[in-house]
């Protein structure tokens, strides 16, 4: 077990900056998810940590050791790939044993550690089979077992669930969480799926255009995004933003006001489920355009002052298309962003 420390890592591809002066610390035993849209540099960062990609500048430390210039094998880490990369010509046992064999461990140790990893991932019955005879979910388990069998200080996972179908992904997600908690391995997990990141991670690092926009606990990433990008990327539906102007030490609109020292135009962000639906006269006027019954709730899409807003209503709420209802905002559950910079104030 060891912490991962990334200090000022940059990566240039020709003239394009893929990563810019990035700092990140993953504590010993912690599970951090790198979340971001495709092309944000999250996989590049993971591959630099793994040693599969060269960095343009900066340092990578695992534990207290500077591994920046070491080959992948000497960094004391294991990795799970998006397409599993389970060797088709080896049995499940030999796949899981691969890392241990490369380390020239004795047969007894190999047997013991393979069996333990296989038990953890529940692939014991398939040890004699070849990967072609396994389902996608089972191959994924083999890939994770292969990584855990070497008892790595650090585990890197590159979108490991994205090739699975939705139901299996849900199942594997819960299972991965319990397995990794049990193993206590420091994990860095790359994903573009926010529910995966929210569900699995101790902390989420949201990446955008080669920089980390925000790193925090999942609930804080969700409720207190530090930038317009994070608020808009995390959460489904994404955070709503209203264009307002602050003046005289407060920010106010219909039926809502909060103290704010900032002067001038700002964005008021709030989550669709954080509003109370009231009579039109008592809150911000919201004209309902579309009603989507989602089972557990109604998703309402409408406009406030010409801006598109999405809010969540109870499933039995008596709301019809074209109605105008009032939204009552809770000052404790809103964020205010600078219109110019898109950063939280």
């Amino acid at each position: 077990m060891a912490a991962i420390t990334i200090e000022g890592v940059s990566k240039r591809f020709g003239a394009a900056m893929a990563l810019e002066q990035l700092d990140l610390t993953v504590a010993d035993g912690e599970f951090v998810a790198l979340l971001g849209p495709s092309g944000c540099g999250k996989t590049t960062l993971l591959r630099i940590i793994a040693g599969l990609e060269t960095r343009s500048s900066g340092r990578v430390l695992i534990g207290d050791r500077d591994v920046s210039d070491l080959p992948p094998a000497q960094r004391g880490l294991a990795m799970v790939f998006q397409n599993y990369a389970v060797f088709p010509h080896l049995t499940v046992f030999e796949n899981v044993a691969f890392g241990l064999r490369m380390q020239k461990r004795d047969e007894a140790t190999i047997d013991r550690q393979v069996k333990r990893a296989a038990d953890l991932l529940q692939i014991g019955p398939y040890l004699d089979r070849y990967p072609a005879k396994l389902s996608g979910g089972q191959r994924q388990r083999v890939a994770v077992a292969r990584a855990l069998a070497v008892e790595p200080a650090v585990l890197l996972m590159d979108e490991p669930l994205s090739n699975l179908d939705a139901l299996l992904r849900l199942e594997m997600r819960a299972e991965l969480k319990s397995v990794l908690k049990e193993a206590g391995t420091t994990t860095l997990y790359v994903t573009h799926d926010q529910t995966e990141a929210m569900g699995l991670a101790d902390r989420i690092a949201v990446m955008h255009k080669g920089v980390i926009e925000q790193i925090d606990e999942p609930t804080r990433i969700y409720s207190k995004p530090s930038s317009l990008f994070v608020g808009g990327f995390v959460g489904s539906p994404p955070m709503n933003f209203l264009n307002l102007v602050a003046s005289g030490g407060s920010l106010a609109c219909d039926g809502f006001s909060m103290p704010l020292t900032h002067q001038g135009p700002v964005l008021l962000g709030f989550r669709g489920e954080d509003v109370a639906l009231v009579e039109a006269s008592r809150g911000v006027g919201f004209e309902v355009k579309v009603i989507e019954p989602m089972g557990s709730h109604l998703l309402l899409t409408g406009v406030v002052n010409g801006e598109r807003i999405r809010v969540v209503a109870p499933p039995q709420a008596d709301i019809a298309r074209g109605m105008t209802i009032g939204l009552q905002l809770d000052a404790a559950r809103v964020v205010v962003m600078d219109t110019q910079t898109g950063k939280a104030l």
Binding site: A50, G51, L52, P71, P72, A73, L77, A78, M79, F81, Q82, N83, A85, F87, P88, H89, F98, G99, M102, Q103, R129, Y130, A132, K133, R146, V150
Partner: protein, 282 residues
């Protein structure tokens, strides 16, 4: 539509007819001819072939050439293919240059190497200027069987490694790079990566390349003939001599059938040795 049922057969008909007329019919004719020994009986032509002064030596030469050339070519092509994989830029250009010999006929290739290696050839001129030799030196006559053999091996490797290379490069490109990366992460050395990951995953391509090259290597003739004439007899060369010079088509047919049987046997051996367990396929 009534035509749709027959359309597939109609479409493969030209190829089938072509193969039947120019391949299957001559094949059957050759086999029949080889067993038409006249008064000597069914095996008469084969007995004449076995009794031929050059038979043993041509059989030995052919096998020695195959056993030398094919393994060297496989190793070379694998090495070249792996080098190409590592190249960041200019890969297509290098591959293009390396495959130029594919477009050169084997007789022309033999003549090129003859021009280099004959008494007054480029090699001797070069060695003479270096002061290594005093004058024209013969490498390719019956008194120098070793250098003659080496010359044929070199010419054959130059001429036909590209076929193997193309198959192996195609096979290497089919292996997702994550497998090599996984091997790196889990501590495989370059050699372990080659022997435990790359080569096993390359098996189908290796099998195709080996079968193709071995079958063609048993038919080696034009390059040998250009460089050594009959100083280094090979099976196809003997078939040619029986056909052209001795005007005995039946014994030539016996040689042809023998070569075919050897090729088929080699193919069977490869298919068995390099068989991929069906469950171990990707």
């Amino acid at each position: 539509m009534p035509t749709s049922r027959w359309l597939p057969y109609l479409l493969i008909a030209p190829a089938s007819v072509f193969l039947a007329v120019f391949f299957a019919v001559p094949l059957v004719q050759t086999i029949v001819l080889s067993f038409d020994g006249g008064p000597a009986g069914l095996w008469g032509n084969y007995q004449r072939m076995l009794g031929d002064l050059n038979f043993n030596v041509s059989l030995r030469n052919t096998f020695m050439l195959v056993l030398t050339v094919v393994p060297l070519q496989m190793m070379l092509a694998i090495g070249m293919g792996l080098m190409l994989q590592k190249m960041q830029r200019g890969r297509e250009v290098v591959l293009w240059i390396w495959t130029i010999p594919l477009g050169v006929s084997d007789l022309a290739a033999g003549l090129v190497w003859l021009a280099i290696l004959q008494n007054t050839g480029y090699l001797n001129t070069f060695l003479f200027h270096l002061g290594v030799i005093d004058g024209p030196t013969a490498w390719l006559n019956s008194e120098t069987p070793m250098t003659l053999f080496i010359a044929v091996v070199v010419a054959e490797i130059w001429r036909s490694t590209a076929v193997v290379l193309v198959i192996i490069v195609a096979g290497l490109q089919l292996i997702p790079k994550e497998f090599g990366e996984a091997a790196d992460i889990f501590g495989a050395s370059a050699w372990q990566k080659l022997t435990r990951v790359t080569l096993p995953m390359l098996k189908p391509s290796l099998q195709s390349a080996l079968i193709l090259r071995t079958v063609l290597a048993f038919e080696v003739f034009a390059a040998v003939y250009a460089i050594g004439g009959r100083n280094i007899p090979v099976l196809v060369g003997e078939a040619y001599v029986w056909q052209r010079e001795n005007q005995n088509y039946s014994v030539a047919a016996a040689y042809a059938v023998l070569i075919m049987v050897i090729s088929l046997a080699a193919t069977a051996v490869y298919l068995r040795l390099l068989r991929q367990k069906p469950e171990a396929q990707a």
